[in-house]
Symmetry: C2
Subunit: 193 residues, 2 copies
């Protein structure tokens, strides 16, 4: 998606030579017109897929999923919680995700009542790197018996193994921008995406 790649190139910041920081438009300040274009593009990529619900994970996935949902007949969005408070229902599906950036394992949870056997789930998230967060979401959906019909990612880093992990199980994965390398402060994108 050219608009997104341009945005990453002009406004992304490379930290420690390997982390791409996109707080300016994706993670902290949110660029709503860009999000609308991303939503349209997700719709184009999953045009023939019947979808009843979008599943994402707090925090950064939520805004992307909600704007995108508007292009999928405004299906409900459900987000898995990382920081469940006292109000969290007891009756949850739970999985565990290892975070490289924070070097900790954390639980993710979704209330059982919000995913049911008949749902056709599109998973949406902001980043795909090692694939841990997405695999955690896949695990939650598997527990519910619902079907995963697609996985939509905004920015994929192709060199950390996430895609292999996901496609091994046969899922339809679409990323709006694929980064093949971050070297010498330069981002190299996969051309044809």
């Amino acid at each position: 998606m050219e608009l997104l790649k341009r945005k990453i190139q002009t406004e992304g910041k490379i930290v420690d030579g390997r982390i791409i920081q996109v707080s300016n438009f994706l993670n902290h300040q949110l660029d709503i017109p860009l999000f609308n274009e991303m939503g349209k593009e997700f719709q184009r990529r999953f045009a023939d897929t019947p979808i009843t619900k979008i599943l994402t994970i707090e925090t950064s996935g939520i805004a992307i999923a909600c704007i995108a949902a508007q292009y999928f007949n405004s299906v409900p969005v459900v987000f898995a919680k990382k920081h469940a408070g006292r109000n969290m229902d007891e009756d949850v599906y739970e999985s565990s995700v290892y975070s490289y950036t924070k070097d900790t394992e954390y639980p993710i949870r979704v209330a059982k009542e919000f995913i049911n056997t008949h749902d056709k789930i599109l998973i949406i998230d902001d980043f795909l790197a090692s694939g841990n967060a997405v695999m955690g979401l896949i695990d939650l959906v598997k527990q519910s018996g619902a079907e995963i019909v697609g996985i939509g990612i905004v920015i994929e880093k192709s060199f950390q193994g996430g895609r292999e992990l996901i496609e091994k199980d046969g899922y339809h994965l679409e990323s709006l921008a694929v980064i093949d390398a971050i070297e010498d402060g330069q981002v190299t994108f996969r051309d044809y995406i």
Copy 2:
């Protein structure tokens, strides 16, 4: 807002006789058509107000703010972070919020680069009760020198003092539904809102 009040009445759950849980459409599963109607209603309430940015706080405020932004010329949304990771910029405005539901004080932070002196900020959040979260957001904006032009809340509980705290400082506060009492498992709304 009648649609919202009906939703609270039919799908809200009252916990411990005093907490209203709206996970079904506002906090965990997100009802996108409802969010669009809420966005339009916020626009109607702040129609004559020049707004350059919407500020909210993770997690539940983000989806509401992003959908609403579409009715305010798609201005950028910035969310204050509660759980800042290693990626968080050092250069932040910081405040502190006391949470009754979790009985802890937690820091909230926003990167300085995303709020500047010339901004006219609409604050949006899901709940107003004691007003602590909103007062924290007001504090962040004050530090930046930007102007707060309005505060939009989805559900206000009028009996916990938040409105008095906010209006004392002269801010324009609009709530889409105002709950005057929760008694015997029944929610009493303020009629005219």
